[in-house]
């Protein structure tokens, strides 16, 4: 077993665009659920809309990269309105059901052959990132970082991605520490109380839904720009529940939570996979083969999510006081 290689892959995973994408989606979900109490089980849809908005605008419309980003953002804003207008006046459970259904419907629509000329159908899209990478100031070549060697494109998207995470984090800190954030916290707990204090609950929930969705759409864009490939099978419920796990691991109502949660979660998964594959190859796990190890990742994710919710619902950074206060 090549420990050095496994370690290298693990460290690489800490900072990879893959991880960044999930972090952004989890930050969006933090706004939805952590700060507002919105039960969104369709975060994959917001990410997908960002990804597809960007890629379709690049390929079908041939627009510049920044216009493509805007298209992705607008698509998710529109989606938020569509979801929110019927459901935000109802109980939280209704939003949960509608988001699951909507995300599934969207995924099937994106995979359908009917729209394949635009969406690429089940084959997906590629070649849409040229406009973006044209901005790359880093000279062509491969760069040895010690734990891994990456191309100038990978380096570019990684740097851009982390800058984006930083910007979003600062933005979220500003929001949550503002009076706007305070109203949201109240809404999370008791909407009628907040109404009795003169705030429009519907408007604020809609704003939160939109903001969280836009942040997730940025994550979706990073997710597809990095490999320069947009595969529709990505945007299923697996994606959504991985985001939830990352969020709960780190702490739902925090900003560091999704960041650290994302980094540690994927690093850990990579480490586990690497070690298990190594063990299988060495013959220590005779009941498994290498292909199954990849599947076991999902088993572990499910288990982790369950244990988290039962034993440490506030995650790494969450405030225990907040979860226990209703004991009386």
């Amino acid at each position: 077993m090549d420990f050095l290689q496994i370690l290298g892959l693990t460290i690489g995973q800490l900072f990879s665009p893959f991880t960044i994408a999930y972090i952004l989606c989890a930050l969006g979900l933090a706004v939805h659920f952590g700060y507002t109490g919105l039960m969104n089980f369709g975060q994959a849809a917001f990410a997908a809309l960002g990804a597809y908005g960007f890629s379709i605008a690049a390929l079908t419309l041939g627009w510049d990269w920044w216009a493509c980003v805007l298209v992705g953002i607008c698509a998710s804003v529109l989606f938020a309105f569509l979801l929110g207008i019927p459901t935000l006046r109802l109980r939280a459970d209704y939003l949960a059901i509608v988001t699951i259904a909507a995300a599934q419907a969207l995924k099937y629509a994106l995979q359908a052959s009917d729209f394949a000329s635009v969406t690429g159908g089940s084959a997906g899209l590629h070649g849409f990132a040229e406009g973006f990478f044209a901005l790359n100031p880093i000279p062509v070549g491969r760069y040895d970082l010690g734990f891994e060697t990456i191309s100038e494109r990978e380096m570019f998207i990684t740097i851009v991605g982390w800058i984006l995470v930083a910007v979003v984090a600062v933005f979220m800190v500003a929001l949550t520490k503002s009076p706007w954030g305070r109203v949201l916290k109240g809404i999370r707990e008791d909407e009628d109380a907040v109404r009795s204090l003169g705030k429009s609950v519907f408007a604020m929930k809609m704003q939160a839904l939109i903001i969280g969705g836009v942040i997730a759409s940025l994550g979706g864009m990073i997710f597809v720009i990095s490999p320069e490939n947009n595969d529709p099978s990505t945007w299923g419920t697996n994606f959504t529940f991985m985001i939830w796990t990352v969020l709960l691991l780190g702490g739902a109502a925090t900003i560091f939570g999704p960041i650290v949660g994302g980094m540690s979660f994927f690093a850990l998964l990579m480490l586990t996979e690497g070690v298990m594959t190594g063990l299988v190859n060495l013959g220590f796990l005779p009941f498994l083969n290498v292909a199954q190890v990849a599947q076991i990742r999902y088993l572990l994710v499910g288990l982790a999510l369950m244990l988290l919710v039962i034993f440490k619902p506030q995650g790494f950074f969450g405030n225990k006081r907040e979860t226990l206060v209703n004991a009386r």
């Binding site: 500003a174 109240g186 009795s196 206060v325 009386r328």
Partner: protein, 285 residues
């Protein structure tokens, strides 16, 4: 000493010299049950009015209807010249009619001071775009915090400033809810059983706060079962039973009304219950 409150003869639904709220023909049925059926009632401005009546009389439902938390089947009510029928609850609160809840709605996952700050109206930083630009709302925030601290001191909750509201006892949370409601300087304060669960000794200082509201020009409408409190501070008493207004008038008069005594106050109101004759029951041990 007391100016006239009623215009003309005193009777259920009578007109007031200076009403702040005029209610007409408000009804609310739940299935076959008529919860509220108020033909006409006027709440006097600048006074403390008590709304009393047995449980199930419709008092809380009436509050909910007036403040937009529930929709009536029929009815119209005018607050300081503004028609409020169909107005959403958060707008009613902004217009100056603020209510508290029978089952306290303190926000337990927020600290006491955060609860208080939430009660303020007009904080520009509550708008999404403005929230991102600190200088726009920072000075307002300081003013709001100072006001919140002053109110907390008055209600003796200042020591609990940084505690989560959920860590307070039931009575303390009631106090918090009342203090929070005062942050917006409402013109009509509607308190739903403000004294329930509050220690009798603290009740007295709270009454002082309510009287202070009146001195500052606000009007108060409160629901209560504590008759000593009602007698002590109300200028006017309205009695509801089975959804209707059955009596109203100055406290001394209303509380001597035989029908009110039978249905609501009880014959033992001023007697020591320890001295009442209890029929002997054979213990079968």
């Amino acid at each position: 000493m007391r100016d006239e409150i009623a215009l003309g003869a005193i009777a259920p639904g009578c007109a007031k010299v200076d009403p702040i709220l005029v209610v007409d023909n408000v009804t609310r049925k739940f299935g076959g049950l008529t919860a509220v059926d108020v033909a006409h009632v006027e709440i006097p401005r600048g006074r403390i009015t008590a709304l009393i009546g047995p449980n199930g009389a419709g008092k809380t439902t009436f509050f909910n209807l007036l403040t937009g938390f529930d929709k009536p089947d029929t009815g119209k009510w005018v607050f300081d010249g503004k028609d409020l029928a169909g107005v959403a609850p958060h707008k009613v609160a902004r217009l100056g009619m603020v209510r508290t809840f029978q089952l306290t709605k303190s926000l337990n996952l927020m600290t006491v001071i955060e609860n208080m700050k939430l009660g303020a109206l007009g904080q520009r930083g509550e708008g999404f775009w403005a929230a991102l630009v600190r200088p726009i709302w920072k000075s307002q925030e300081n003013a709001i915090t100072a006001k919140a601290d002053e109110l907390l001191k008055r209600f003796k909750l200042d020591a609990k400033r940084e505690d989560y509201a959920g860590e307070l006892s039931g009575g303390q949370r009631k106090l918090l809810e009342m203090a929070r409601a005062l942050m917006s300087d409402p013109r009509l304060v509607m308190l739903d059983e403000p004294m329930a669960g509050v220690n009798p000794a603290l009740t007295q200082s709270l009454l002082e706060h309510i009287k202070q509201l009146k001195n500052n020009g606000a009007s108060v409408l409160f629901v209560e079962h504590d008759m000593h409190m009602v007698r002590n501070i109300s200028d006017w008493v309205i009695v509801m039973a089975e959804g209707k207004i059955v009596a109203e008038g100055p406290p001394a008069v209303v509380m001597k009304d035989q029908a009110v005594i039978d249905a609501y106050l009880g014959a033992h109101a001023d007697t020591d219950l320890g001295t009442v004759e209890i029929k002997s029951i054979k213990a079968d041990k």
